[in-house]
C-alpha cells in the first residue's frame, strides 16, 4: 500500500499539524482580483473541498497550492514550510487536472512512471511502484494502451495513478469528476472516498458540484467572489449556512428577504418584504452561531427554509405560527420525493418537498396550507 511521505517538522521542531495553510492570500490578474484574502488550514489526512460557482476563485486557490500561480500577497505553507518561493516542480504535491492532461505520446505505464523517472529511481523500483498503483486504480490490464485508446473514466484513473504514484503529501484534484457522466461519476466518487480512506493522504478537491462536495468531504470551504464564506463540515454547511449565498448555493432553499421585528433570547420575529411574519427559534440549529453578527430589531436578514422542512396541508393545521395559505401551481415527481410549487396569497412562490410515491395526488390550483416549525427556519444576516 502507498504511504505518504514522512511528516516534516516546522522550524520550531514541532510536528506540523496542518498539511496546507493559506494565510491571507490574494491573487490579482491584470488588475482583477481572483482571490481575496483566503485563509484556511487543511489538517493532515483530511478530505477538504473548495466549493463555489464558476469564477469564484476556487481553481486559482488550488493552483496557488500547486505552485502554478504565485500569490500576489499572503503566504502559502505546505507541511509548515512557506512555499511562496518554491516552483511547482519542487513542491510535495501532485495534481489531477480537470482535463487530465495525459501525455498522449506515452502509454499508460510510461505516463504513470513519468514522475518517478524524473526522480531517477531505479527501473525495477519504478516498475514495482507503477504496477502497485495501477492495481490500486484497477488499470493493470490497460498498462500498454495509449491515452487516446481509453474511455473517459479510464483516463481519469490514469491521471489519478500518475499523481498518486509519487506519494505526494497532498493530492490536489481540480474538478476531477467534471467530465464524467452521472453513473461513472457516482462510481468514481465512491472510489475516491475509499482511496482516501486507504491511503490516509490529504486530498484537496475543487468542485462546483455541491452534492459531490457534501458526499465526499470531511470539511468544505465555500467560496464566492474570491472570498471564503464559510468553512465547515458538510452537515454544518447544509444545516447551518452562515450567509444567504450559502443557503441558496448548497441544496435548495426558500429565501425571504426582510428585517427583524422582535428579538429576544430564544426567538426572532422577522417581517418579510412581502409582509409575512416569520417566527424563528434561535438556538443550536445554527440560527446564530457564535461568530455570526448579532441580530437585533431592525437588522436586515434573509430567512431560509429548506423545501423538505415545509409541511403541506389540505386543511388548516392546528398551529397558526409560520402557517400560510396558498395555491398549488406545480407538482413534479422526482423519484424519491415530490416537489410542489405553492403560490402564497401575496404572490411569493415556495418550493415544498415531500417524500411520497405520488399516490396522494393533489389537483393543481387546489388551495393548500404550508407550515414549518420555527426551529427549521434560519435567519441569515444580510
Amino acid at each position: 500500500m502507498l504511504q505518504t511521505a514522512s511528516p516534516n517538522t516546522d522550524l520550531a521542531g514541532r510536528e506540523a499539524e496542518f498539511d496546507v495553510e493559506l494565510r491571507k492570500v490574494f491573487k490579482v490578474f491584470n488588475g482583477e482580483t481572483a482571490v481575496r484574502g483566503v485563509e484556511f488550514n487543511i489538517r493532515r489526512g483530511e478530505f477538504f473541498s473548495i466549493l463555489g460557482p464558476s469564477g469564484c476563485g476556487k481553481t486559482t486557490t488550488l493552483r496557488l497550492i500547486g505552485g502554478f500561480e504565485m500569490p500576489s500577497a499572503g503566504e502559502v505553507l505546505i507541511r509548515g514550510q512557506s512555499v511562496n518561493q518554491v516552483p511547482a516542480y519542487r513542491r510535495p504535491v501532485n495534481t489531477v487536472f480537470q482535463s487530465y492532461a495525459l501525455f498522449d505520446h506515452m502509454n499508460v505505464r510510461d505516463n504513470v512512471g513519468f514522475g518517478l523517472r524524473l526522480k531517477k529511481m531505479a527501473k525495477a523500483e519504478i516498475q514495482h511502484s507503477v504496477d502497485e498503483v495501477l492495481e490500486l486504480v484497477k488499470l493493470e490490464s490497460l498498462a500498454t494502451r495509449f491515452p487516446k485508446q481509453l474511455s473517459g473514466g479510464q483516463r481519469q484513473r490514469v491521471a489519478l495513478a500518475r499523481a498518486l504514484v509519487n506519494r505526494p503529501a497532498v493530492l490536489l484534484l481540480d474538478e476531477p469528476l467534471g467530465a464524467l457522466d452521472l453513473k461513472l461519476r457516482k462510481q468514481m466518487q465512491y472510489e475516491l472516498t475509499s482511496l482516501h480512506q486507504d491511503l490516509g493522504m490529504t486530498f484537496v478537491m475543487v468542485t462546483h458540484d455541491q452534492e459531490e462536495a457534501l458526499s465526499l468531504s470531511d470539511r468544505i470551504a465555500v467560496m464566492n467572489d474570491g472570498r471564503i464564506e464559510q468553512i465547515g463540515s458538510p452537515q454544518e454547511i447544509y444545516d447551518a449556512p452562515k450567509t444567504p449565498f450559502i443557503a441558496d448555493f448548497i441544496g435548495d432553499t426558500n429565501l425571504f428577504e426582510g428585517h427583524v421585528e422582535e428579538a429576544d433570547e430564544s426567538s426572532l420575529l422577522v417581517r418579510s418584504q412581502a409582509g409575512l411574519d416569520l417566527a424563528i427559534e434561535r438556538g443550536e440549529s445554527g440560527a446564530d452561531v457564535a461568530d455570526a453578527p448579532r441580530l437585533d430589531r431592525g437588522s436586515a436578514v434573509a430567512v431560509s427554509i429548506r423545501p423538505e422542512k415545509i409541511d403541506l396541508h389540505l386543511y388548516p393545521p392546528e398551529t397558526s405560527v409560520n402557517t400560510f395559505e396558498g395555491r398549488l401551481i406545480q407538482a413534479m415527481y422526482l423519484g424519491t420525493h415530490v416537489q410542489f410549487t405553492v403560490e402564497l396569497s401575496n404572490g411569493a412562490t415556495l418550493t415544498v418537498r415531500q417524500p411520497g410515491s405520488g399516490s396522494e395526488r393533489i389537483a393543481l390550483g387546489t388551495a393548500v396550507f404550508v407550515s414549518w416549525s420555527p426551529s427549521s427556519a434560519l435567519a441569515l444576516s444580510r
Binding site: F68, P87, A88, S99, Y100, A101, F103, F114, L118
Partner: protein, 293 residues
C-alpha cells in the same frame, strides 16, 4: 470504418459491438444489381481532375516519347531520363536547391517552433501586431519579397550568394512552420506542461519530454510544406542568387528559353513524383500519429 475504430485494439466486446452496429439495411442494398449511373456531380469532378492533371499526363507522355522535337508519338524510350542522370549541371542545380531547402527549413523549424510556443504561452503588449507581421510573408506576393530582399541586400552592400537565397527563404518558411505548429499547439491540452511540472519536471524537461514530442507531427508537416515551397521557388531565388548559385527551378527556366526539350520534360516528371511522394509521406505520418495517439 472510422479512424477511431481502426485505432482500437480488438477486444471481444468490441468485435461484438461491431457486429451489432452493422446497419440492417446494408445487406439488401449490396445484393441489388450494380448499375453504372454517372451523376452530374461525378461528371463535374472528372472534368475538374482532367483540368488539373491532364497537362501533367501529357508532360509524362512526352518525356517518354522517342521524338526529340515533334509532338508526334514516335515510340517509347527511357533515353531522356538516362541523359538527365548524366547531366552535371542539373545535379549541381539540384544540390544547390537541396542545400537552400534543408538550411532554410532547418533554421525555420527551430525558430518557427519557438515562435509558436512563445506566442501561445506569453502575453505581451503588441502581441496581435507581432502575430500579424510574422504571418505577413504568407500574403505578400513573392515578387515583393524578392525585390525588397534584393534592394535591402544591395543597400547594405551584402554580396549575393547561395546563402542570401537561404536568408530570403527563411522569411516564408518560418511563417509556414509557425502557423502549422500553432495549429497543433491549439489542439493540445492547455495543462500538459503544468502536468509535467507538477510531476517534478523542470521547465526545460517539461518542454523536451512532453511538449516537443506532442508537437513533432506539426513540426514535421510544417517542415515538409516549407521544404516543397523552397524547392519550388523560382522568383525569390532568382532575385537573391549570387553568381553560380543556380537552383533547379532557375536551371529549368534558363533551359526552356531555348525551347522545350524532352530532358526537361523528364526532369519535371521526376520533380512532380518526388513532391507527390513527399506529400504522401507527410500525410501518412500525420494520419499515423493521429490514430495512434
Amino acid at each position: 470504418m472510422t479512424q477511431s475504430e481502426t485505432s482500437l485494439p480488438e477486444t471481444p466486446e468490441r468485435a461484438e459491438d461491431r457486429a451489432d452496429d452493422l446497419p440492417s439495411d446494408e445487406l439488401p442494398a449490396m445484393s441489388r444489381p450494380f448499375k453504372l449511373k454517372l451523376s452530374w456531380q461525378a461528371g463535374f469532378t472528372i472534368a475538374m481532375f482532367a483540368f488539373m492533371y491532364l497537362p501533367i499526363l501529357v508532360l509524362t507522355a512526352y518525356s517518354l516519347n522517342a521524338s526529340p522535337y515533334s509532338a508526334n508519338w514516335e515510340g517509347f524510350t527511357w533515353e531522356w531520363y538516362g541523359r538527365l542522370l548524366q547531366d552535371r549541371r542539373v545535379f549541381s542545380a539540384l544540390r544547390n536547391s537541396l542545400t537552400v531547402a534543408t538550411s532554410s527549413v532547418g533554421i525555420s523549424a527551430v525558430l518557427g517552433t519557438l515562435m509558436a510556443v512563445g506566442l501561445a504561452r506569453y502575453h505581451f503588449p503588441g502581441k496581435r501586431l507581432f502575430l500579424g507581421v510574422s504571418y505577413l510573408p504568407l500574403i505578400v506576393p513573392d515578387i515583393a519579397i524578392a525585390v525588397a530582399t534584393l534592394v535591402f541586400l544591395a543597400a547594405i552592400g551584402f554580396p549575393l550568394s547561395l546563402w542570401t537565397i537561404v536568408a530570403a527563404h527563411v522569411v516564408f518558411c518560418l511563417a509556414y512552420v509557425a502557423i502549422v505548429v500553432s495549429t497543433r499547439l491549439a489542439d493540445l491540452d492547455q495543462n500538459l506542461e503544468e502536468a509535467a511540472l507538477d510531476l517534478g519536471a523542470t521547465p526545460v524537461q517539461a518542454f523536451v519530454q512532453v511538449l516537443l514530442p506532442q508537437l513533432i507531427p506539426g513540426i514535421v508537416s510544417g517542415c515538409l510544406l516549407a521544404f516543397v515551397l523552397s524547392m519550388d521557388d523560382f522568383l525569390i531565388s532568382s532575385f537573391t542568387a549570387g553568381a553560380g548559385a543556380t537552383t533547379l527551378p532557375m536551371e529549368i527556366f534558363s533551359r526552356i528559353r531555348t525551347g522545350v526539350r524532352p530532358d526537361i520534360n523528364a526532369l519535371s516528371v521526376v520533380l512532380i513524383s518526388a513532391s507527390a511522394l513527399l506529400a504522401f509521406i507527410a500525410e501518412y505520418w500525420r494520419y499515423r500519429s493521429d490514430s495512434k495517439q
